[in-house]
Structure formats: structure tokens, C-alpha cells
């Protein structure tokens, strides 16, 4: 099902024209309303009327997360404070939080793109949407909420926490679509088994999962345990929140709602724009947003863009499931390591649950990587030999994937803390300068 067929299936040439018009207007707004961007334009000799086509996007300056921090809290807003109707903020793990704002029109745009997201996952007015994303400053809960109301679904705004009650409500109220982080979906599935509840006693048919990286194997596990279709959704608060891109039922890439958010893939080192099909850092330009229209915002997410028409009929560009995040990237003995690579290794072996923890430390000036892996009940062996074989196999597979050695430690199930929000997968004990 397609919420906005006119846009989502638009001829690509026409779409480029629409994007060009919107980009041109955006550059003018930025020039006149945001001193930070005016300065950048002046430094590179760009006049407000110069930008007429999206082909010129590559001439424009980038925006990075640090720019938002430097202009904390409202320095990059392009409208007067009286026009702001909502503020969200991301957790500031490294200093101050990132604050984002919305005008009334921005909230409408957000509801529209989330409506497209949910429709794409098979949602409609007959659905009961269980929203277990956190409500509050985090964009997940309220973002999905408004889109769900827009499509006319029945919204259950549970927010995070209290897993037992979540299961009870889902069962009693007949929830058909679950919205939460993929790690929480797995957590719910486990809690369901432990409580002796069968997935057949639920009416769930789909889940929209995002806000953290997850693998195809994790998808298969969620789909198998909850007996649902697990749809990957993508978004970030700097761009708008959930609703930037979403998979359709084909589950073959996430459709980016590029009439609002123009994507580019760039080489993270040279910042050159890469042709379609090449892996690069995802960059977004928010051409319609009023309060915080970021120009060429570097997401740090690595992906591949594909402009081919999807089997579902949508013509808008697709991005591959995120292939890693440079923020999560660890540099261990000079090698780039993404936690998702280790997750993939573990899941491919199917002898372990995707519950793992990476501990990086520095011993005698040398980086050491320790990987804690929980031993799955089903593949439990009471022979030391087999457990040690398992350990060696994990060690070997990690080494051949990452190119660096790791110490594997088998731990009892439930040793590693389960998070109800974003999963904590890494403990870095190294003291950095």
C-alpha cells in the first residue's frame, strides 16, 4: 500500500524539478535567516539566487553534528522562536544534547512522512499501533504517534519500559503493529516465551523497527519469534526523526522520502559525491523544513543508494540497510571495527544469541578486544570440548572478518544487560589521551 502515490511513484525527472525548486527556495531562506549559513555562503562566494538546480547541491557546504553543538540550542533555527511549536533533543552522551525544533508545518510534514512509513509497512486505519518507542525528548515515540493518527490507526502510546505490561496490553488490546527498537522487539519476544505466551495468542502482523543498526539475521530472528513481518525504518532527529526512509513489504532497501530529504552518498574522507551504487556516508538536505532546514547534513551512516524503481512501484530512491556507523566505529590496533560486523558473525553461526558485549581495553600499550557471548539454551552442550570448540569458532570467525584477534568469553544467558532502548554493545576502557 502507498500513502502518497503521486509523490512516491513520481517520474524521477519531475521529482528532480520539484527538488530543484525546493532547494533553491531553501538556500534563500538559509541565506537570509541563518547567520551561520550566510557566513558559509559568503565564504564560498554563493549568492542566494545562484542555486537553481539539485545538480548544484555538491557546491554547497556540509553541516556536521558539531555545528549543532556550537550553535546550541537554537542558533541554526531559521524561524523566530514564536513559530516553534515543538522541541526535541537527543541524548548528549558527549557533552550538550542536540536540540531540534519544529514549526506547525514541520509537524505536518513529519506526520506525512511517518504516514507513508506506516502505510508502507502495511498499516491502515484498521490497525492497532503499539508504540513502545520512548515518548518525550526522543523523537521516536511522538514521531510515530502523529503519523499513526494521520493514517487513522488506533494508537496505544505505551512508551518504553514495563515489559510485562507491554505484553499484556498488546495481547488484550489486539495490537497489530509494533513500533520499537529492534533490540527491544527481541527482548519482548524472549519475555513472551518466558511468560509462556504463544505468539499465536497475539494479533501482531508487522513491526516497524529503527533507531539503531540491526542485521538481516536479527530480522529473521524477530520475524520467526514474533511471527510478524519486520520492517526497517530510518530516521534521525537532525533531519526530522523517524520517517526519513522506510522499507516496503518487498524488504529490499528503504525508500527515502526525497521530496523532503534529498540524499547523497559521499566519500567520508574526500567528501566527493559518489555515484549511485557505491558505499558512502549518507548526507541529507532538508528542503521543506522550516525550523531547522539543515544543508548537506552528514549522518555518519554508511549506505548505498539505488534509484531503480522498486517492485512495489515506488520510484523514490532506496538506501540499503545501514552498513555501519562511523560514530560506533572503534579503532582497534588501527583497524576500523563496527559492532554490527561482530553481530553478523555471531548470527551466521546460529549457535549464539545476538547478545554480545565488546570490551576494548589497552594492556601494555596494546589494544585488546574481548567479546562476551551468551550461550544459547538450545545449542547448549554439557561437553567442555564442544563449548571450547564453539569459542574457538567464534574467535576464528571474528578474526577472519575483522582482521584482528579477539578473546572470546562464553557467559551465562542474561549476563549481558538488556536495554529497553538502544542496546549497549561496547565498553571502551581505553584512556584516550
Amino acid at each position: 500500500m502507498i500513502w502518497n502515490e503521486y509523490i512516491e511513484c513520481m517520474d524521477r525527472e519531475r521529482l528532480a524539478k520539484l527538488q530543484s525548486e525546493r532547494l533553491s527556495a531553501m538556500v534563500q531562506r538559509l541565506y537570509y535567516n541563518v547567520p551561520f549559513y550566510r557566513q558559509k555562503f559568503q565564504n564560498s562566494g554563493i549568492e542566494p539566487g545562484d542555486i537553481k538546480s539539485i545538480d548544484q547541491l555538491k557546491q554547497l557546504p556540509f553541516t556536521i553534528k558539531q555545528d549543532l553543538r556550537d550553535n546550541y540550542p537554537f542558533g541554526l533555527f531559521a524561524v523566530p522562536a514564536s513559530e516553534i511549536v515543538r522541541v526535541h533533543a537527543s541524548s548528549g552522551t558527549t557533552g550538550k544534547p542536540t536540540v531540534v525544533g519544529y514549526t506547525r508545518r514541520d509537524i505536518e510534514i513529519w506526520s506525512e512522512v511517518v504516514a507513508r512509513t506506516l502505510t508502507s509497512a502495511g498499516g491502515g486505519k484498521n490497525d492497532v499501533l503499539h508504540i513502545a518507542y520512548g515518548y518525550g525528548l526522543f523523537t521516536g515515540g511522538l514521531g510515530i504517534h502523529y503519523g499513526a493518527e494521520k493514517i487513522g490507526a488506533t494508537v496505544i502510546p505505551v512508551s518504553g519500559g514495563n515489559t510485562q505490561r507491554q505484553l499484556q496490553l498488546m495481547q488484550d488490546l489486539g495490537s497489530t503493529i509494533l513500533a520499537c527498537t529492534p533490540s527491544y522487539a527481541l527482548y519482548l519476544a524472549e519475555a513472551m516465551t518466558e511468560a509462556g505466551m504463544s505468539p499465536d495468542s497475539f494479533k501482531l502482523k508487522a513491526g516497524v523497527f529503527g533507531a539503531e543498526p540491526w542485521t538481516e539475521e536479527m530480522r529473521r530472528e524477530i520475524e520467526g519469534k514474533l511471527k510478524i513481518k519486520a520492517i526497517d525504518i530510518y530516521g534521525l532527529s537532525e533531519v526530522i526523526g523517524p520517517g526519513v526512509a522506510a522499507e516496503c513489504m518487498c524488504q529490499n532497501g528503504l525508500h527515502i522520502f526525497e521530496d523532503h530529504f534529498i540524499p547523497e552518498a559521499v566519500d567520508p574522507k574526500t567528501l566527493e559525491v559518489l555515484p549511485y551504487g557505491q558505499i558512502g556516508e549518507l548526507v541529507f538536505t532538508c528542503v521543506t523544513k522550516e525550523a531547522l532546514p539543515l544543508l548537506r547534513y552528514r549522518t555518519r551512516d554508511l549506505t548505498v543508494l539505488n534509484p531503480e524503481t522498486c517492485e512495489c512501484g515506488r520510484t523514490i530512491v532506496r538506501m540499503k540497510k545501514c552498513l555501519g556507523r562511523s560514530d560506533d566505529m572503534l579503532i582497534i590496533r588501527g583497524v576500523n571495527v563496527f559492532p554490527s560486523q561482530i553481530e553478523t558473525v555471531l548470527l551466521e553461526m546460529s549457535e549464539t544469541k545476538p547478545h554480545y558485549l565488546l570490551i576494548v581495553d589497552r594492556v601494555n600499550n596494546l589494544d585488546v578486544l574481548e567479546v562476551w557471548v551468551e550461550v544459547d539454551g538450545q545449542f547448549f552442550s554439557d561437553e567442555i570440548k564442544k563449548l571450547e570448540d564453539l569459542k574457538r569458532k567464534i574467535q576464528h570467525n571474528i578474526e577472519s572478518t575483522l582482521g584482528i584477534g579477539a578473546m572470546v568469553k562464553l557467559v551465562e544467558p542474561k549476563t549481558i544487560e538488556r536495554s529497553e532502548g538502544k542496546a549497549k554493545r561496547v565498553i571502551d576502557k581505553r584512556i584516550i589521551k
Partner: protein, 141 residues
């Protein structure tokens, strides 16, 4: 003739073993025999108890990683070469022993054997007229 043994995966942390024994004690479960195999960071506790199913459920409820494994209980003739003869038979039949441990039950020397073919082991030992533990020797009905 197949005996149900409890196998518990334990990390090498102080208090883990006590947690298991305490749980079984409070559930009124008797441990007839046990052995621990250990490595540098984890261990495997193997036990013969009087109520294996109940013990498994109780331990699971405590979040302890426990499974039931089939083993054979061999009553060893109390004479020189008693154990040797039994092992020789298994070896000549191509059965390999994964692990074994001894205990005494009602003054009889008994060996718990885990082999790569448990049912087959039972048949071979019975054919050679060797005494095996019956479930009724250990379990409470």
C-alpha cells in the same frame, strides 16, 4: 536404564555454585552424585538428583542455564579389573566416552558414563551382563 543427568553451565564467579545448591536444597531435591569440569572461565556442573524434571524447572526459574543430558549408570564389580573390563568392551565396540565420574550408591561402586551413543551403550553393557543403574534406584516415584 537411561539416567537423566542435570548439566549446568556456570561462569567462574564466586557464589554461582552456592546459588545452585541453595536452590536445590530449598526445593527438597537430593543430589546423589556430581562432578565439575572446569576451564579458565566457565565450568560444567553435572548432577544426578532424585527429581530431575523438578530440579530443571526450579533452576530454570532462577535464570540458571540448565539442561538434561542422558547418561548411563554402570555398577562396577567390586574386584580388580572390574572397571577395566567394562571400558574394554565399550572400546572394542567403537564407543567413545565423553566423560565419566564415580560415586557410591548403597555401598555399590557406580560410574556415570556419557558416551557418544547412549542407547547403544546400554544395550552393549546389558548384553555383557554388566549391572546398570535403574532409574528407580535414584528417582523418587
Amino acid at each position: 536404564m537411561i539416567i537423566k543427568q542435570l548439566s549446568v553451565f556456570l561462569e567462574n564467579k564466586s557464589g554461582r555454585l552456592t546459588e545452585v545448591t541453595e536452590t536445590l536444597a530449598s526445593a527438597q531435591i537430593n543430589i546423589s552424585a556430581f562432578s565439575i569440569a572446569d576451564t579458565s572461565d566457565f565450568g560444567m556442573l553435572r548432577m544426578i538428583v532424585n527429581k530431575p524434571e523438578k530440579a530443571e524447572q526450579t533452576l530454570k526459574a532462577k535464570g540458571i542455564s540448565v539442561h538434561i543430558t542422558d547418561v548411563v549408570g554402570l555398577i562396577v564389580p567390586d574386584e580388580p579389573g572390574g572397571l577395566h573390563r567394562a571400558l574394554e568392551i565399550l572400546s572394542s565396540e567403537g564407543i567413545s566416552v565423553e566423560y565419566m565420574y564415580a560415586f557410591s550408591l548403597k555401598d555399590r561402586a557406580t560410574v556415570i558414563l556419557r558416551t557418544d551413543a547412549v542407547q547403544h551403550t546400554v544395550e552393549i553393557l546389558q548384553n555383557h551382563k554388566l549391572g546398570l543403574l535403574k532409574t528407580s534406584d535414584i528417582y523418587e516415584v
